[in-house]
Symmetry: C2
Subunit: 350 residues, 2 copies
Amino acid sequence: MLAWQALLPPLVADLDLGAGNTPLIAAPELTKARGVTGSVFLKDESQNPTWSHKDRLNYCTVSAGVQVDAPGVVVASSGNHGASAAAYSARAGLPCIVISSADAPPAIYNFIQAYGAALLPVPAEFRWAIMRQVVERLGFHPVSNLTPGGHTGHPFGPEGYKTIAYEVYSQLKRSAPDVVMAPCGYGELLFGIWKGFVELRELGLTRHVPRIIAVEPAGRGPLHRALATGKDVEHVAPGATRAYAIGTTIGSYRALLAVRNSGGDAILVSDGELQTAQTTLARMGIWQELSGVAGVAGLLRSPDVVGDGTVVCILTSSGFKDEGLSYEVPVPLEPAWTAIEAALHNFDIY
Amino acid sequence: MLAWQALLPPLVADLDLGAGNTPLIAAPELTKARGVTGSVFLKDESQNPTWSHKDRLNYCTVSAGVQVDAPGVVVASSGNHGASAAAYSARAGLPCIVISSADAPPAIYNFIQAYGAALLPVPAEFRWAIMRQVVERLGFHPVSNLTPGGHTGHPFGPEGYKTIAYEVYSQLKRSAPDVVMAPCGYGELLFGIWKGFVELRELGLTRHVPRIIAVEPAGRGPLHRALATGKDVEHVAPGATRAYAIGTTIGSYRALLAVRNSGGDAILVSDGELQTAQTTLARMGIWQELSGVAGVAGLLRSPDVVGDGTVVCILTSSGFKDEGLSYEVPVPLEPAWTAIEAALHNFDIY
């Protein structure tokens, strides 16, 4: 990310863990599945220091914390955001407080605590109130929303996400794609990507800004609701979804701005559609967290909304972070060819 | 890796998942801890498509399988190698059989199966015999050792690892480091890195080849034994170790060649030393699997063996793959400042 320093808030070089510079992978299977003209590419953000896109955000926000001499960093998150903030805080030598709910997948708690963060599990609805107290009483630097409203994330977060736009532009041989599809919770990711492409246009490097398409879990979908009603984003009911990383009940003004200004859209996908997309990608060699495949799920669901042209789907996070993991250990087979043959029959291989 | 195609076996471009191009991270904390002159850098191989160095190997070996029209791929592994082979096989549209033991961490079985591989857990000592049967009866392309001897891994595997040497050379502004330290099981990784630097020297790009230092779990250590006795590698007793990814009881001729020819060495580290290295790295923002930090554990244990100069430690794999993960979910705290304050006292933060 330091390569783009001139276009970003000041980064602390010593905090660099290698965020960014993730591959753009051609996906001929998905190109074919769409039935329209154009190519599909996947931007694999699981190939980051803590194996999600959040590292781009936290490199910027924790750098800001260091630069204002904050005594520590605080974040409300039960997943990738918290662990990534913990990693960058550790790198900076700052204590980190992660205020989580107690409903994340078990491996995630190992993940957050590995970096030495103070993990404070609290009832979900109290997360923001407690975070504000940590900010007010201890002076810790907040790197996520300070309110349940979704509009008060750290302003430098989307600045980090801008680098996705810059990289895609470089990887597509100095051109912008026609469409970018991204999983959408609060929508900071897609706002950042949109802003990055707008800047490239302002700099005279590209003529157009891609249509930004947000993909939300069908049980919730505050951005989809705002677009459908023409209103601002409002809280929606907390419908059931297993896509815990993007299952927010509110979007942000910034996300709405990115989608409206780019002529984009919002697509709702069910958990079943997310799972299909997850399996489809894994069978292409790319294993992602359920929430992380929402862009692809949206593409498979609504190729008509996406339309023709070059499409980039952002994949946000490794499959290891999923709540669907089983912790069962397999029973050994008898080491005879007959038993092996029978097992292979079940796998439809032999 | 395609950028280095001229120096590698033929790669199938369509299989590219973005392996390689991992960051080289400065580690001033470790430079200081050594007490000698020179700098320490970390090559973070967890930022690969399946979050380990094995992707470099499997991109080459599965490409070979495709090029000989193999009907499938077979691998004996209960960890990163198996999952990575499964991912590249999936990308190639080839069935993959992973012959595993039943003692890997539970999350690993999800990992391997996500890519659609046929997972065959068998008693550990039968893995190679069954793998040979799969090769002989089904004609599947083998991408790991065909014998328990450790000398019969796919010849293109270390060719993939060579790209680590090429990248380090580029990242150090066209120079070779003085020492490379790597976790060592069969030693294909360190042989490949050594070969890469030898080639750079042959090409006239660098004057010297780094000393290659293998770090093995103290309970086993076949390479250390061979160096100490001046003999070839022989089987050692299966002493206890939790570093399951490198806990082999045999090394390889190739590894011995790399260490001897480069004037390197082998260092044994205990599980406790591995754990200290793991925690040290995590508190620098880098969370790796226990086996993956062996290079750093060796550096911390024996700075005298390592000596002066620029040292690159290879970190091989994400902390999510560790067997030490707990699957307990935390109990929520009471959402009152007094409870938060008490919890923070325990973390020594407030």
